[in-house]
């Protein structure tokens, strides 16, 4: 039996040495997906996966040096991919087949990775539980009666289930980090603009980033190293670091870490808090300097986020009009009805809610009071993080206030679900990188994550420290 959950570096070495083939790895991945399909992590298989694996094997044989040779991965279904549907888990895109792929999918394939399947998500990445998928929720691998987190819930569950060696997701307000925490995997949200957004269904363009979900920090660095770098089709991309993001664990000694006080306050599960503080004590024992720091604007971040993001969502989702692609209402008799009915029938409740809120806050007479004010609060938030990073190398906090909750327990209460994002959204508004790593369990065997944050473009520092923390934590499921 081939184990595809080993470290990527080892698998790649074995493929290069001829001990394993890409076809072996893809077959093992497809078998595992079939075995665990009840979790509904995956929406569609890539029918050409095996054929593509054989092509990679031929490239390896021809002597090509491929950093992800033969590695099977799963892409969140808001990544445009040819040869499959791209639905964003929404009814309005149910019939859509993309005519192109973006730079990230192209880079991963060029590096020798093989996309085996598309993962479930909250429709259009709106949500934190994957229950907003128009095709039904994904179940948590650690307890199938619970949510996997979201919106990259399918991607996180797929990695935790061992359906693929890694997955790629998107993070607009925590959508990589929070499901990674709830499924017990590593989730990396890079600096805004480090990874091109072209070829991904747009949600809130000033916040959207693409990143990997993996079984280790080392794997996250390896995958980021392939994903990162500017592309002429995304004018918001920034230069990448000259060095590789595939870093080794650094030293914790002398590292200055700020523990964000506001994230330890109200709403944090007491068990998570106690275990987080125990982990902080171990970081200190290993030589890190950890001190509490107050960032009061983080308490306003969620309110600013739920103005800015719906505003951007309402603009980005205006393109789904039933005319050029996607669902078109058969009941429409004129153009106005094509718009109105296609959108009524094709969008789920959460997409409608966000479009409505966004339209409202941008509408005449409300723009200054809501949108512009939220942008100013965003400036204040950025200022407080910049100040903090003058004193600290990294900031630390929990990823989520609670472990995965039971499926259905918060549906019908949109605000309660929004509050789930309270510890993740600030990072997006500020544009900094952050990584969630599993550090223990709560409420029995449910995984919980801690979040490390670094200044913009400091991914290497972030990953070196996260790898060191990961080593220190050891087997999180026993903690």
């Amino acid at each position: 039996m081939i184990n595809i959950t080993r470290p990527i570096a080892e698998l790649v070495a074995d493929v290069k040495a001829g001990k394993l083939t890409a076809a072996d790895l893809v077959q093992a991945s497809l078998a595992r997906i079939a075995e665990t399909e009840d979790y509904h992590a995956v929406l569609e298989l890539n029918p050409a996966a095996l054929e593509q694996a054989k092509a990679v094997d031929a490239r390896v044989k021809a002597g090509e040096d491929l950093p992800l040779a033969g590695i099977p991965f799963i892409a969140k279904d808001n990544y445009l991919t040819t040869g499959t549907h791209t639905t964003a888990a929404s009814n309005i895109l149910r019939p859509f087949r993309s005519p192109y792929e973006g730079p990230v999918i192209r880079r991963l394939k060029a590096a020798g990775a093989i996309m085996v399947a598309k993962a479930n998500l909250d429709a259009f990445a709106h949500g934190g539980s994957t229950e907003n998928s128009d095709f039904g929720p994904t179940k948590n691998p650690h307890d199938p009666t619970r949510i996997p987190g979201g919106s990259s819930g399918g991607s996180a569950a797929a990695v935790a289930l061992g359906q693929a060696t890694f997955a790629v997701g998107t993070d607009t307000g925590g959508s990589i980090r929070q499901p990674a925490a709830m499924c017990g995997v590593v989730g990396l949200k890079p600096t805004y603009g480090l990874v091109p957004r072209t070829g991904v269904v747009a949600m809130a363009s000033s916040n959207d980033v693409l990143g990997p979900l993996t079984r280790s920090v080392a794997d996250a660095g390896l995958v980021l190293d392939v994903m990162a770098g500017p592309d002429p089709t995304d004018a918001t991309t920034i230069p990448r670091d000259k060095g590789s993001y595939a870093v080794k664990a650094g030293s914790l000694k002398g590292l200055n870490i700020g523990l964000i006080k506001e994230y330890l306050g109200q709403g944090l599960d007491p068990e998570i808090k106690a275990k987080l503080l125990a982990t902080v004590a171990r970081l200190k024992a290993a030589g890190a300097e950890v001190h509490e720091i107050s960032l009061p604007a983080t308490e306003l971040a969620l309110a600013a986020y739920y103005i800015l993001v719906p505003a951007e969502v309402s603009s980005n989702l205006a393109r789904y009009d039933g005319v050029r692609f996607g669902h078109s209402s058969p009941k429409a008799t004129n153009l106005e009805e094509t718009y109105r009915l296609s959108r009524e029938e094709g969008f789920g409740p959460e997409a409608k809610r966000r479009i409505m809120i966004g339209t409202y806050v941008l509408s005449s007479g409300y723009y200054d009071a809501y949108y512009k004010r939220a942008q100013k609060v965003r400036t204040q938030l950025i200022g407080q993080f910049n100040e903090a990073f003058k004193k600290y190398d990294l900031l630390l906090g929990p990823t989520s206030p609670n472990p995965a909750f039971p499926l259905g327990s918060k549906s019908g209460d949109p605000l309660a679900l929004y509050l789930e994002d309270v510890m993740t959204v600030a990072v997006n508004l500020v544009g900094i990188p952050a990584v969630s790593i599993p550090f223990g369990t709560a409420s029995g065997n449910l995984p919980v994550g801690l979040q490390l944050m670094a200044p913009q473009r400091a991914e290497r520092r972030l990953l070196e420290a996260a790898a060191a923390a990961e080593d220190l934590i050891g087997d999180w499921s026993a903690r």
Binding site: T333, E336, T359, A369, K376, Y418, G431
Partner: protein
């Protein structure tokens, strides 16, 4: 400012070109009201000396050469259109 009545919901739905059932309009009124009440806390923040942020990495006016590049084949781009004729996308009547 935070109470959003059903007339207001209908007005926004019209702006957003989204049809809503009576039931959806009612629940939307309550839910949006609740969410707007939550974001209302921003009204108490002093932002008088603060500039708005819309780009976080400090990029300004990114330029590129205006040059002709090959694009995707027309048939491939039209393949997703719900209705097409003679290489064009068909739309319903524009005037009532």
């Amino acid at each position: 400012m935070s109470k959003i009545g059903t007339t207001e919901v209908a007005r926004i739905a019209k702006l957003a070109r989204i049809g809503l059932s009576e039931e959806e309009t009612a629940s939307m009124s309550a839910e949006i009201g609740q969410i707007m009440e939550f974001v209302e806390q921003l009204q108490n923040v002093d932002v008088s000396d603060t500039e708005p942020t819309d780009q976080v990495t400090g990029l300004e006016d990114v330029w590129r050469e205006d040059e002709v590049r090959p694009s995707m084949p027309r048939e491939q781009l039209l393949a997703n259109a719900p209705e097409q004729k003679d290489g064009y996308i068909v739309v319903k009547r524009v005037l009532g």
